[in-house]
Symmetry: D2
Subunit: 260 residues, 4 copies
């Protein structure tokens, strides 16, 4: 099992690491409000998108560089680690200066030039599983990163396309278990994308925890109904706080034997 | 929420009901050994197949009537409730005399003559979701039962066909959550078929529990490596016992708030 | 390659056999009108459902025995061969007296008691592929028939569940090609269920033909907009006639080298 | 219906356009041999990859710039139009100088920075459908191109991930029909990737033709067993020539009414 240490955070160890924050960074005030709140609830990493890969061209595409600067403010003011997505190999150098982790989205999991470019850096990289990716294909893709010498890969199950008529995607908890066996990388679960529904996120987070996820990536918003991106799946600050209490209790059972 | 009472067992109430036993009844000794053990561990229902729907004609097809008689012996000697699968409308009357619950397998979920026939009885019926069934199709199928006047339907998520390269099926925990909202029937999870792998069953069972399943259907065998059916996914008696201890602990957390 | 001879019709030979008719038999007049018309256009087999497996209990379930009698009338008045679906093993004996072929629907492809029961007869059996059935699973299912001594199996690709947002199913032409290699049975294509849309059926039928289907199963109705079942995918009598002209032309090219 | 004219080739008109060539350009000799042969057989466009997106990092990744120079030689010596894939937005300018069409591979169909970059050019762009892309998602992706002002989009169905146990992908002929209705762009079919098997490519090409494809993208190699990429699905020069004869015959039937 590889453990990725960054600051005083260890990913892949006994402690389950929670990364939380909005789908997209919308303003400094929004980001700071959310960051301070999730930090108080126990999140160790702030997530927030500056460059957003959106299905539709007409959807909000993120604040771009302005978003990165806000990320830096969050980092400075809270001391949280930060993670943000990179979609374009030309942005790697710029984003490198602002983030602790690169996030590769599911639509980019086979964007090989991008994987090579982040693979040349020394920062940890969370690669989300493609929505239709079999596990062997997924694991082959991350070899584009490790072949460049960067072994700090974090896997993330975020839901697949299957038979949904109710939720947005199908959270594949089997994949979390399988990836723990098939690879040595830490494995996160993303209950927000895995369900796409506020009323399911909490239970899905618990499912990820009890099957052995090393971390959780959870979307939280101070005002989900006004969110510029994926508001349906965002938890409120209060919901997230309550969820963290529950997750801590579950993690500390003998049955699970971990901390959060 | 409909609650199905049978003897002193309530399905769909606060208590999570565990049904356990072998894929197929192989002998009286095998069945009794397993039944007594899972009962001691906390199972309230004994599961065991007498008529087995097998992908291949050459696979063990179950003991048939002899299996039903063994089921009766188990019931008499242990006091456990029993559940067994019916595949053929011509067998409904016969199986009725031996079982407390009818089980409709995933391959039969749209076997409408069969659904109508069991719907005419007064016994509870667990209908497993088809491996490729969208939830609306699944819920439409059980209307063939309720239209006959039998409302004692129990749903069961047992894994879908998706992108597996490692597990046999993809356990769809989202479906458990969705079915709790879309219907009033109790919802079971089947971590044995949902994963198809001994090393995943326990964690999958926990996942079903924490997302809100009202019951679990778990395959247990006294000698999995010699099982005539699905030995790869059977827990040993000891593994099942340890799992029940863990499930009880998790169920009783404030985060879950149930008993087993 | 097995060839099934019945009357003067050879299935699995050079001639591509077309079975056409309504989803469900609705009345003697409807059935005769359609049968005479499709016969004139070149169909050799009349298809019509008397027992219909419908997703919803509230949908028209077929005329039952009355439908079988109409089928007999069609047979007598036109001389066409007839095919109709059997869903229930208890109906095999009764339907046997009226039909030339048994049809096993996709929802029943793993209804093993039913497969065994028709396998005991000496009539040809068309088994439709399950909507989510991998080819090896499909071919294993038909062994339940051949194990009973009936080798007169006809396979039929009728569309799978995949990524449709427009058509009802996804016609899998690769399956037609693969089944011709993996088995010795004649292989039909069902462009009606394979697309679910009147405007696609003709082109889909051509696709089945050019990839090597030995026969086509096509839904035709004298008044699709009033059909009691699957009117969206039914061709009108005139559309069917025009399609047959086109199919004959294509079949006779050197590129295809068959007749219809 | 939009028609894209380039030189004397019209894409989206009555004539079905065939693009043929190797998966990857391996050498000048290989490329010229294949190009001259497919041209003689009736192909109007030469396809050949210089930058190859390969599942595995250890697979041949293409000749890169050297491949582009070979492409230029092919163009000069044969007069054929050429198409080649672009994977990286940083390569758009370079590849622009060598190619007549940009090809966006299925793994890149939601590579939005790449789509925007090619959208800024004035060259036609073939965007292959993602292997798991529903049609509305696919059509939303190409809006990233048209929003930049480039309307010269060509769609291409190349097989989806479904239930294959025999072929590599599942050719979705319904998608070709649907895309002709849902959009105004020309639609190609790719029988090579759609099947992944030499013995199926020809029949699959015919299926694409008869359902209405405006063009075909076919992999051809002078020595498939030695190909550095996807040799299993490459036609030999002779197979391609024979196929073109058959396709021409089929296209000219009244039933199809097109030329090649």
């Amino acid at each position: 099992m590889s453990v990725i240490k960054i600051g005083n955070v260890e990913i892949g160890g006994n402690r389950v690491i929670v990364a939380a924050g909005p789908c997209a960074i919308e303003s400094e005030e929004q980001a700071l409000t959310i960051a301070k709140s999730v930090q108080k609830s126990g999140a160790l990493i702030f997530r927030g998108g500056a460059y957003k890969p959106r299905t539709k061209r007409s959807s909000f595409q993120g604040l771009g560089e302005k978003g990165l600067e806000i990320l830096e403010t969050v980092k400075r003011e809270t001391g949280l680690l930060v993670i943000t997505e990179v979609m374009d190999p030309r942005d790697v150098e710029k984003i490198y200066r602002f983030t602790d982790f690169f996030q590769i989205g599911s639509r980019s999991f086979q964007n090989f030039p991008l994987l090579i470019e982040v693979g040349k850096t020394n920062k940890p990289i969370m690669v989300k599983r493609g929505m239709g990716a079999k596990l062997d294909i997924y694991l082959s893709a991350v070899e584009y990163i490790t072949a460049e010498g960067n072994e700090k890969v974090i896997l993330c199950e975020r839901g697949i396309n299957a038979l949904e008529t109710y939720s947005k995607n199908t959270l594949d908890v089997n994949a979390i278990m399988a990836l723990k066996t098939l690879s040595t990388f830490p494995v996160f679960g993303d209950p927000s994308h895995g369900t796409g529904r506020n009323d399911m996120v909490g239970r899905a987070a618990k499912a990820c925890l009890v099957v052995g996820a090393d971390g959780l990536l959870i979307e939280v918003h101070n005002n989900p109904s006004e969110a510029l991106c994926d508001g349906d799946q965002a938890l409120t600050l209060r919901q997230f706080d309550e969820l963290m209490t529950e997750l801590k209790e579950l993690a500390q059972t003998k049955a699970i034997g971990r901390s959060i």
